[in-house]
């Protein structure tokens, strides 16, 4: 193509350096935010003051910041749950179903050890908390194992299966907490029972102890992909399942393994938000919102190119944006759901920018014609 005296050509990229990837990701986010700025304009709000309000609530305000951190930890865990299968070339969009499974198992454990009747504790609170986390991990892993097993054994499309499991998990929670279900709370209609104070998750340095756990999960995954045989096998499978098969990597076990790992981490995300975040400590009526929030894990995983450590700052950013977005829509009389709009627009700009991971635009000055 010619533009003035320049020739513009596309060239395929063989490698993307870390710096390039970061630049592309940041550009994608900036353009996404600019597009959402149009929504602000349409609603009669100056985008700059809109974003200033979002960021100052999300990262400066002393009420907003803890909420941001809790949302970010949730998004980070969902991102890790998405990344592990992604590195094997598989799509886990079932973080919602997996975190519902983990949540149900964790609250099941709490119920089994007398959460509804705190006067008669059966076990030391520390042990109950540990068992609840174990339950969350197993519950998430159980849901995750379904698409993983089916993919490995029958090559069943994992996107459809994980999405179906999201809906199944959604209705299972409804069954448990509504209309006389086993987890129904005493007071408000349609929400789960509240945990007794003794089994609230412990706090470390003013935050929940799930914060260091989430960071640890990201670091462990990074280590796994960078240094271990297992990580190598997953990556090899992701690049070419058939080549991986000939080098002795089981095409049945890898999908199962990555989905179990993903489900396990998503289960932790459920534990984090419903059993560890101060002021929640129950399955709330709007639990579906957190299933929706888990989709930020997809964006965050794609934008960090499947790198769990790179996902940490992006998770913090998205946690802040959704939290601040929720806050300002009331303050600036924006319509409901600005955080949903942001989710959609960011995702699509990211998809467009995927192009630049694969291609470079080359500008060449054309030689003057004689």
């Amino acid at each position: 193509m010619r533009l003035g005296s320049y020739e513009v050509k596309l060239e395929r990229k063989v490698r993307v350096t870390g710096l390039e990837a970061t630049t592309i990701s940041l550009l994608a986010i900036l353009i996404g935010l600019a597009l959402v700025g149009l929504i602000f304009l349409q609603a009669g709000v100056n985008p700059l003051s809109g974003y200033r309000a979002i960021f100052s609530y999300a990262f400066v305000n002393k009420f907003g910041l803890p909420l941001t951190i809790n949302r970010s930890v949730f998004i980070l865990l969902c991102t890790c749950a998405f990344i592990v299968p992604l590195r094997a070339g598989l799509w886990n969009i079932g973080m919602a179903g997996q975190l519902y499974g983990g949540t149900l198992a964790a609250f099941g454990v709490a119920l089994a050890f007398g959460a509804k009747d705190p006067q008669t504790p059966t076990l030391a609170p520390g042990i109950v908390i540990a068992l609840m986390m174990l339950g969350a991990i197993l519950g998430g892993a159980l849901i995750g194992s379904i698409p993983g097993f089916l993919k490995g054994r029958f090559n069943t499309n994992e996107i459809v299966v994980t999405m179906m499991l999201n809906s199944i998990g959604f209705w299972l929670i409804a069954f448990m907490i509504k209309e006389g279900g086993p987890f129904m709370g005493g007071g408000g209609e349609g929400q789960g029972f509240k945990l007794s104070e003794s089994i609230f998750a412990p706090m470390v340095w003013g935050g929940t102890f799930t914060i260091p756990i989430a960071l640890g999960v990201a670091a462990l995954l990074h280590f796994m992909f960078a240094k271990t045989t297992l990580g190598y096998q997953i990556k090899a499978f992701g690049l070419s399942p058939s080549a991986a098969k000939y080098s002795g990597i089981s095409p049945q076990n890898v999908p199962l393994l990555v989905f179990v790992l993903g489900g396990l981490i998503a289960g932790l995300a459920g534990y984090h938000y419903f059993a560890a975040v101060p002021g929640v400590y129950k399955i709330p009526t709007n639990y579906g919102d957190f299933g929706d929030l888990s989709f930020y894990g997809i964006i965050c995983g794609l934008i960090s190119q499947g790198n769990p450590l790179a996902a940490i700052p992006f998770a913090l950013l998205f946690g802040g944006l959704t939290n601040g977005g929720r806050f300002v829509q009331g303050q600036l009389q924006l319509g409901y759901g600005i955080d949903y709009a942001l989710l959609g627009v960011l995702m699509i700009t990211l998809v467009v920018f995927q192009f630049f991971y694969r291609n470079t635009i080359v500008w060449k000055k054309m030689e003057r014609e004689k």
């Binding site: 799509w91 996107i159 499991l165 809906s167 959604f170 069954f175 989710l343 699509i348 990211l350 467009v352």
Partner: protein, 291 residues
């Protein structure tokens, strides 16, 4: 009993039309896993237009237009930019999910128009759906256009060499496919269940996607599958019709999703695919290098 059957057939209409759209796109080699997003756009825009103008016709036309537009976007990402079609489709789905939640929220609630008159409780869309099934079958098996689309999906390079513009054929199919998906969404929000709430499709688009795999890319099997799922969906809403007082109604709501997984597993077994799997378009989902 007839009322239940009619309601099931009306539900199946949504699946039929949306899945037919996906089938046409896939036949040309373009996989759109964002069908739920396109349907959400069609349903929401159709709902808003019908509610503000009071005209069902305008609502449907708007849904068809936005469906075509969004699918064209998917086509641009997948055909022109040549990206991973699954990533692009996911983008379309999340865009639809996020943006329609924002756009539609002020219109939350019932449509408030007189219901579209039907025949014996069947909405006119059901007959339209059947007509489209026959038309699609006829196009693919009897016309040169159908042959062109199918060959673009089987072996694009050979198709290109034999003088057919693959890019144009694929764009055409993808846009037509999006129009049908948009219409399918609008049938849900205007006729089947005319009440808007956030993310009200709850996975119908993904069931429609699975239906295309079930159908072995055959419009008539797709029609049968849609009726099966429409009936299952209706049963899950009214379990008292078969098994009164067994299981909570929330558990019944999971049934269509469980069955989707079960059927999908059956379809992907070696036993099944060695008999029927040959119908899958060879180049489905593969990015194409421009020569």
């Amino acid at each position: 009993m007839w009322e239940f059957a009619a309601r099931s057939l009306n539900a199946s209409t949504v699946f039929t039309i949306a899945a037919l759209g996906e089938l046409i796109g896939q036949r040309s080699g373009i996989l759109n896993v964002g069908i739920e997003g396109v349907m959400l756009f069609g349903a929401t825009v159709g709902f808003i237009v019908a509610k503000t103008t009071g005209s069902y016709l305008l609502g449907c036309l708007a849904a068809i237009a936005i469906g075509g537009l969004i699918a064209a976007l998917h086509g641009f990402f997948s055909i022109t930019l040549g990206g991973d079609q699954v990533v692009n489709g996911m983008g379309i789905w999340i865009l639809g999910f996020g943006l329609t939640a924002y756009i539609g929220y002020p219109y939350t609630g019932p449509l408030g128009l007189e219901r579209i008159p039907g025949l014996l409780g069947l909405s006119p869309f059901f007959f339209l759906a059947f007509g489209l099934v026959v038309l699609t079958w006829w196009m693919f098996s009897k016309t040169s256009l159908g042959l062109r689309i199918r060959s673009a999906g089987e072996n694009p390079s050979v198709t290109e060499v034999s003088g057919i513009n693959v890019t144009r054929t694929r764009y055409l199919s993808v846009i037509a496919s999006g129009m049908l998906m948009g219409l399918g969404g609008a049938i849900y929000s205007l006729s089947y269940n005319p009440v808007w709430s956030i993310n009200f499709l709850l996975g119908w688009g993904f069931i429609a996607l699975a239906l295309v795999f079930f159908s072995m890319w055959n419009p008539f099997i797709l029609f049968g599958g849609s009726i099966l799922f429409g009936t299952l969906w209706q049963l899950s809403l009214n379990p008292q019709l078969v098994l009164p007082n067994v299981l909570s109604r929330y558990i019944w709501r999971t049934v269509p999703f469980v069955i989707t997984i079960a059927v999908l597993v059956l379809m992907s077994t070696k036993w099944f695919s060695s008999r029927w799997g040959a119908a899958k378009p060879q180049a489905l989902g593969l990015p194409r290098e421009e020569e």
